[in-house]
């Protein structure tokens, strides 16, 4: 009888172990090293603004609500942080609350000579309660454009681009020496000429893309009105509103993340809770197509599901092009934040696993929306992702060492 009880116990234990093993296989993980952004430079968050410089350092724009936003930089070699720009200190402004230079939201841009360009945004993005936009001389003065030269350590304030409006988006044309932004909240397309230190305003875009993409021809892209992908062509010096023609399963979902492909012929895109990985085909742009209210059309392929079934897609807020030409993005689902890799050759995704913090699993990102806020890739293929503070996770940069390096270079 005792032998029977023991054998039953053994069977139950075996079943439990088998279940545990199965569970472990289903919830696989990808580890990252975590480096918290220095506490005195933020109030727990930063948005979109992360970029890899030619000097091998990672530049991060912080959000410091009601106070001064900072541009900080992380050295992957020494693992140390350096405070580069304290917006209020440089501008000598002292606005508080709604009127502070509280964020560097625009993605920092890297010039051919290694100079970093960064712009500020008002602290709080709340149109209805920002009565002073363009109206009150004592309100938010407008976003400043800064440059930082890592070779000399000199920070320059190039002034306010648009009176009482913040600076958002960001793309650089190194050949033409131009920076592209849009103004918040009026959504105007801005062209800053680096040599001439002049600004042009080409008018409303109809949408405010946190990510902008630029192709090898210098054409700039972003999201406009619903169902519209806009393009600025420097050859014609014109903005074009392109009506999106969807191919593949499902309907068009407005992208949040857009990233230029390695060949410069496609733009990879992810929507907030987007069901599909999207590819905008730049060769499909047709400026002769007649669509009411639009200048032409562009084809967007809903290529494949953005996360393997049965998981449901979450808030896809951060993405970057890997050195291997694949598109890396986060997708929070099933209790954690998944890191996904899209292969444009295979036109398929690979779930790299749920992001876990090396040595500190209790800090692991959950599946809450908006945690991952930006991404960039180093020359060695290392992926850097900015996460905002949530539960025990501090506002930080997660480092995935050489994750995106082409095969053979990641050893």
């Amino acid at each position: 009888m005792r032998a029977l009880r023991l054998s039953s116990w053994a069977i139950v234990m075996a079943c439990l172990l088998a279940l545990l093993a199965a569970g472990q296989r289903a919830v696989f993980a990808i580890e990252a090293e975590m480096y918290p952004v220095p506490e005195k430079t933020h109030s727990g968050a930063g948005w979109t603004a992360i970029q890899y410089g030619l000097d091998g350092k990672v530049y991060v724009g912080t959000g410091n609500y009601g106070h001064s936003g900072h541009l900080v930089c992380f050295d992957p070699e020494t693992k140390e942080w350096k405070d580069i720009i304290d917006a209020h200190q440089v501008t000598r402004e002292n606005g508080t609350g709604l009127d502070s230079q509280g964020k560097f939201h625009a993605k920092p841009q890297v010039d051919a000579d290694g100079v970093i360009w960064a712009g500020t945004l008002q602290a709080i993005v709340d149109v209805a309660n920002r009565a002073e936009n363009g109206e009150d001389a004592t309100g938010y003065p407008g976003g400043h454009l800064f440059s930082y030269d890592p070779k000399t350590g000199v920070v320059r304030d190039h002034g306010i681009l648009k009176k009482q409006q913040g600076i958002m988006g960001g793309a650089i044309d190194r050949e033409r020496r131009r920076l592209y932004y849009w103004s918040y909240p009026k959504l105007h397309f801005l062209i800053y000429d680096i040599e001439a230190n002049t600004l042009r305003d080409l008018g409303q875009l109809g949408g405010g893309p946190r990510y902008m993409a630029i192709d090898p021809k210098g054409r700039v892209f972003g999201m406009g009105r619903f169902g519209i992908f806009w393009m600025y062509d420097p050859e014609t010096d014109r903005l074009y509103d392109l009506a999106v023609q969807v191919r593949g399963d499902g309907e068009h979902q407005e992208p949040y993340v857009i990233v230029m492909s390695a060949d410069g012929e496609r733009i990879f895109a992810s929507a907030i809770q987007g069901e599909y990985v999207m590819e905008f085909d730049l060769k499909s742009i047709d400026l002769k197509a007649e669509v009411p209210g639009a200048d032409g059309t562009i084809v967007c392929y809903n290529v494949c599901r953005s996360i393997p079934e049965p998981l449901k897609p979450g808030d896809q807020h951060a993405g970057a092009l890997g050195k291997d030409g694949r598109y890396y993005y986060t997708n929070p689902a099933g209790g954690g934040t998944h890191l996904i890799r899209y292969d444009p050759q295979e036109r398929a995704i690979e779930d790299l696993g749920v992001i876990t913090i090396k040595g500190n699993p209790e800090l692991n990102p959950t599946d809450a929306p908006q945690l991952a806020q930006g991404a960039c890739v180093g020359t060695d293929g290392t992926l850097y992702m900015m996460f905002i503070q949530h539960k025990k996770l501090p506002y930080c940069v997660l480092v995935f060492d050489k994750l995106t390096a082409p095969k053979g270079e990641d050893e």
Binding site: A131, E135, L187, G203, Q204, G208, R225, E254, P292
Partner: protein
């Protein structure tokens, strides 16, 4: 038991407070958060609405300025079925907008017969154009800004009285009248409201003829006033908004509705009731917040549906619906269904 009573009375008090707050909001607020957007069929950059009129057939005609070379775009909106069409030309022999817009124009208006039109050039000269192509210079109206002898402060509005006389404002805020019958342009000795020292900024931003026979106007500095064409009396009604500029005015069901604010700022709505002589203050303009343009997760879509660009024109149809034309690269037509918003 005592504790239960406390809880009960606490709940009642909270309910009453909520009810008072909700009622207060319903009674005082001017709701402009659910305007109906009517997409114009024109290309980006060709959609800046400069003029809206209601034709005798009840349809709303609008004009978008494109460029001097390309001429304006015309559209027609049918309030009966909500359709909007691009219109190549107005029916002959009416004057075409391009015949009015040959030069640099700051303000223009069809005359009541639609057979001619009046313009203010960007240097403030008043001209009359006929459908047969003839043009008549009526005289200089606008003055220049203080200490800026080449900067003309040109009014943006031209209005008519019931007799067909034409009015605008000019140098130093003077109200001018052109009498087609007498072929005479004159300063009337009536002046727009202005604080001392800012008279040269006192130009006419918007004007509309009220059902009481008075003209209701708004100035560059944001003052609202009435002007009696018979007695020439001007009454300053005050500033409905802290901002300068009155971008548009229209009457609906006995009340004056307006939109004001700086070009660089945000347009805001207000209303004036001639019976109570009181203002109702509104807020920002917002369109189709429940529509597909602004999904709840898509904060970047038009940044929450607010209208950021200045108003180019405003008019009321026979049902009292107010039409608002916005300017800029992506200008559009919006319908403010005043009655449905609870403002009757």
């Amino acid at each position: 038991m005592k504790s239960m009573n406390h809880r009960m009375w606490g709940s009642v008090a909270r309910f009453l407070l909520l009810a008072v707050l909700l009622c207060g909001r319903a009674a005082g607020a001017l709701d402009t958060t659910d305007l109906k957007k009517v997409d114009l069929p024109f290309l980006p950059g060709e959609r800046s609405v400069s003029q809206l009129v209601v034709a005798p057939d009840g349809k709303v005609y609008g004009t978008c300025i494109v460029s001097r070379e390309q001429g304006p775009r015309l559209f027609r909106y049918d309030p009966q079925n909500g359709s909007l069409d691009s219109v190549g030309r107005l029916p002959d022999p009416l004057i075409q907008p391009e015949d009015l817009l040959g030069g640099a124009v700051t303000a223009w208006a069809w005359d009541p017969s639609w057979m001619g039109g009046y313009c203010l050039s960007d240097t403030g000269a008043m001209r009359f154009y006929k459908a047969d192509g003839t043009e008549q210079e009526l005289g200089q109206v606008a003055g220049t800004l203080a200490f800026a002898p080449t900067e003309y402060q040109v009014s943006k509005a031209i209005f008519f009285d019931a007799e067909g006389n034409v009015y605008t404002a000019g140098s130093g805020g003077a109200i001018y009248r052109y009498s087609p019958a007498e072929k005479k342009l004159e300063a009337l000795g009536a002046w727009l409201p202005a604080v001392t020292g800012r008279e040269s900024w006192a130009s006419l931003d918007a004007a509309v003829l009220g059902p009481d026979g008075l003209v209701y106007g708004g100035t560059f500095d944001g003052y609202l006033f009435t002007f009696d064409p018979k007695t020439l009396e001007v009454v300053n009604l005050g500033k409905p908004l802290r901002q300068r500029r009155i971008q548009g005015l229209a009457f609906s069901k006995g009340k004056l509705y307006g939109i004001g604010g700086e070009d660089e700022g945000m347009p805001r709505a207000f209303a004036f009731d001639p019976k109570t002589r009181g203002f109702e203050l509104g807020g920002l303009l917002r369109a189709d917040t429940n529509g597909t343009d602004y999904p709840p997760t898509g904060i970047m879509k038009g940044e929450q549906g607010y209208i950021y660009e200045p108003i180019g024109a405003m008019v009321t149809d026979e049902q009292g619906n107010i039409y608002i034309g916005t300017t800029g690269r992506l200008g559009n037509l919006y319908v403010w269904e005043v009655e449905q918003s609870g403002q009757s």
